[in-house]
């Protein structure tokens, strides 16, 4: 029998595996629930005890993307036979499609605002972090502390001043306003995280580039950026997740043009009774972009979370 520091014993491995899998199952249940509900009929969706095996239906998705009005049999008669598969689903419920819903627009708003603020945050954050890491900034420590202190209370605590400010600046319910707001909230965390990553990059790389005849800026984007990629990717994921899921500001500051998906999804309920499948469908689609983004950057994220310990 030999013992090893890095190689766990077989029994330990089994226990660890069991714990990880159970934890994954527990956290995945709500997610699976939502995804399943999206494909249930309204009746199944509120059945108790919950139905686990059910006949899948795309009604929720159709309802999500359409506005419908209740129609009398005469009106249905007058409209003629349904000409698309989704028309048919809607008519079975005694309704007809009156137009597309606003979910598409709201989803697009989320994409524009979420990715826009993440991009802006990364550009500003990387440059600020680089400056804090490499240059003699007067009052550097105080500034860094001040930046962090903006996160010492929940952002929503300053909702009222921001609301008033936005109203006076005409930023209420605009994409620009929301992008700026989310960037401002995310920037402090980004600067701190990115500074950590950039501190880890030996300054000799830039000095070597400077000696080789590159300018300071070239050294920054040809040498520092590629090496900070891991840090930038993981920070970007944090920023996107916050901006994507943010609810409170979105409710307060947007209502139409710039409304994002989170405040919109609950409003789906009210159209015709409790349409849980449509809400669940909206939530499911809403999950996709962050999931794809995270999976794309997964490799960086895992290495990034260890804060450079692995990189060397």
């Amino acid at each position: 029998m030999s013992f090893s520091v890095t190689e766990p014993a077989k029994g330990t491995k089994w226990i660890a595996g069991f714990l990880v899998i159970s934890y994954a199952c527990i956290t995945l249940v709500p997610l699976l629930w939502i995804i399943a509900t999206g494909f249930k009929s309204p009746a199944d969706s509120i059945a108790y005890p919950p139905v686990v095996l059910f006949e899948p239906s795309v009604e929720g998705y159709v309802n999500l993307f359409t506005e419908r009005t209740r129609a009398t049999p005469e009106m249905l008669e007058a409209a003629g036979p349904a000409d698309t598969w989704y028309d048919e689903i809607v008519r079975e419920r005694g309704t007809i499609i009156s137009g597309p819903s606003r979910y598409g627009e709201r989803f697009l708003n989320s994409v524009i605002i979420g990715f826009g603020s993440t991009l802006l945050c990364m550009i500003l954050g990387t440059m600020a972090a680089y400056a804090f890491s490499r240059f003699k900034v007067p009052l550097k420590d105080d500034l860094l502390f001040f930046i962090l202190s903006t996160r010492m209370m929940p952002p929503i605590a300053v909702a009222i001043p921001i609301f008033l400010m936005f109203r006076n600046l005409g930023l209420n319910d605009t994409h620009l306003g929301m992008i700026l707001l989310y960037t401002a909230v995310n920037l402090s965390l980004s600067v701190w995280l990115l500074k950590g990553f950039i501190d880890e990059i030996p300054i000799e790389y830039e000095e070597a580039a400077l000696i080789d005849g590159y300018t300071r800026f070239q050294a920054f984007y040809k040498v520092v950026l590629p090496q900070a990629a891991t840090g930038i990717a993981s920070t970007a994921i944090f920023c996107l997740i916050f901006a994507w899921n943010e609810y409170a500001f979105a409710v307060l500051l947007t209502s139409g043009t710039a409304q994002t998906a989170p405040p919109f999804i609950p409003t789906i309920i009210g159209v015709s009774g409790k349409d849980w499948p449509a809400v669940a469908a909206g939530a499911t689609i809403f999950l996709v972009p962050v999931m794809v983004f995270t999976i794309l950057l997964r490799k960086h994220l895992l290495r990034g979370i260890t804060f450079g310990a692995v990189r060397k």
Binding site: P202, E207, A208, L210, I211, D212, G213
Partner: protein, 365 residues
């Protein structure tokens, strides 16, 4: 290729004075060693020459042109860092060609040049591998490749072998010196290893606490140290010092230690007071007829020689004698010193007294 001249260069970091008014000249094509203990300002001096740090005052001339306040990119020099600073996101070939790619050379020219360099360094077969998995020696070669590919005016190297293990250092230092002899490029090399400095250097400047203590060819520095610091820093074991109170006049060639006369090289400077007589262990002989006496305290066997530590009236000294000589701890013995090799130091200032033997090689910065 170029001559490099440092004149009254000083560097302050805030209130800390890292380099104090240094002056020395590196001739065209020389392999020049900056030697000194940790924290003495070697790296700072080198970085000022390279333009990575700007001098607080003083001038730096490369090829006759004053470059003290110019950025590194305008000095046309190459720098090899201790940790090599190979770009981890590029493969070997890309790393070597990186300095060329900002010069607007054609792809074919770059490839040709990189091929030549790889040939010289014997790394042709690894051009396409990533730098991550390379051995220390290969990293070193790639770093050198990146330095020489551009044909710069001078090479600056900051402890380039420091990251390698002892065995490999030996090998790489030979390789490095051979490369220099082949290209004859002015090279400034920082090290804290006195053996490395003496083995590889055409000239050495010895620094301590930001002060240039002496510069010159290795043999002169070893034989005729300008200060007690230099005498102790070079050589292993270091030079012996016999402390005594006495006097020597200008033109005198004898000092008296405890009333025993000892011959020394004819002095040019006279002094009166506390002095140290410096003599290297290999110039101490155990000679029973000699008047100056010592008692053997310890012996240390080194193969072909042995180091004998003796207690004398003026402090302990070490002698390097043949390992066949029979020496026993506790023995009383006479000691004689080769009079042509002795340096006298002023004990208070630590500075060597000028004599006809060391005249002309005591170059202080």
């Amino acid at each position: 290729m170029a001559q490099i001249r440092i004149e009254n260069v000083r560097k302050d970091f805030g209130s800390f004075n890292a380099v104090k008014s240094s002056t020395f000249t590196i001739e065209d094509g020389e392999f020049f060693m900056l030697l000194g203990p940790s924290g003495c300002g070697k790296t700072t001096t080198l970085r000022m020459m390279a333009g990575l740090e700007l001098p607080t005052s003083g001038e730096i001339y490369i090829d006759g042109e004053e470059v003290g306040q110019k950025p590194a990119s305008q000095r046309d020099i190459a720098f090899v860092f201790q940790m090599f600073a190979l770009y981890p996101h590029m493969n070997v070939g890309k790393n070597i060609s990186y300095p060329l790619r900002c010069q607007g050379l054609s792809k074919a020219e770059v490839t040709k040049k990189v091929g030549e360099i790889a040939e010289i360094l014997g790394i042709t077969d690894i051009l396409n591998t990533p730098v991550g998995g390379l051995s220390g020696g290969d990293r070193q070669r790639v770093a050198l490749g990146r330095a020489i590919v551009r044909d710069p005016k001078a090479f600056f190297m900051d402890e380039p072998l420091g990251a390698l293990d002892a065995e490999f250092r030996e090998h790489m230092s030979e390789e490095l010196r051979a490369l220099h002899d082949r290209m004859n490029a002015t090279t400034v090399y920082v090290t804290h290893d006195q053996l490395e400095a003496m083995q590889m250097g055409d000239k050495i400047v010895v620094m301590n606490h930001g002060v240039v203590e002496q510069f010159g060819v290795p043999q002169d520095i070893y034989d005729w140290p300008a200060t007690k610091f230099v005498a102790q820093f070079l050589g292993s074991p270091a030079m012996n010092f016999l402390d005594f109170n006495g006097m020597i006049g200008s033109g005198g060639n004898e000092v008296r230690l405890n009333d025993i006369p000892l011959s020394v090289p004819t002095s040019i400077e006279g002094t009166n007071g506390a002095m140290s007589l410096g003599v290297r262990p290999e110039h101490v002989r155990l000679d029973d007829t000699a008047k100056y006496r010592g008692r053997v305290k310890a012996t240390e066997y080194l193969g072909t020689t042995q180091i004998v530590t003796l207690e004398t009236a003026n402090g302990d000294i070490k002698a390097r004698v043949g390992s066949a000589d029979k020496v026993r701890v506790g023995d009383q013995t006479g000691l004689s010193f080769d009079p042509r090799t002795i340096t006298l130091f002023d004990a208070d200032t630590g500075v060597a007294l000028r004599s006809q033997a060391n005249e002309g090689v005591l170059n202080y910065g």
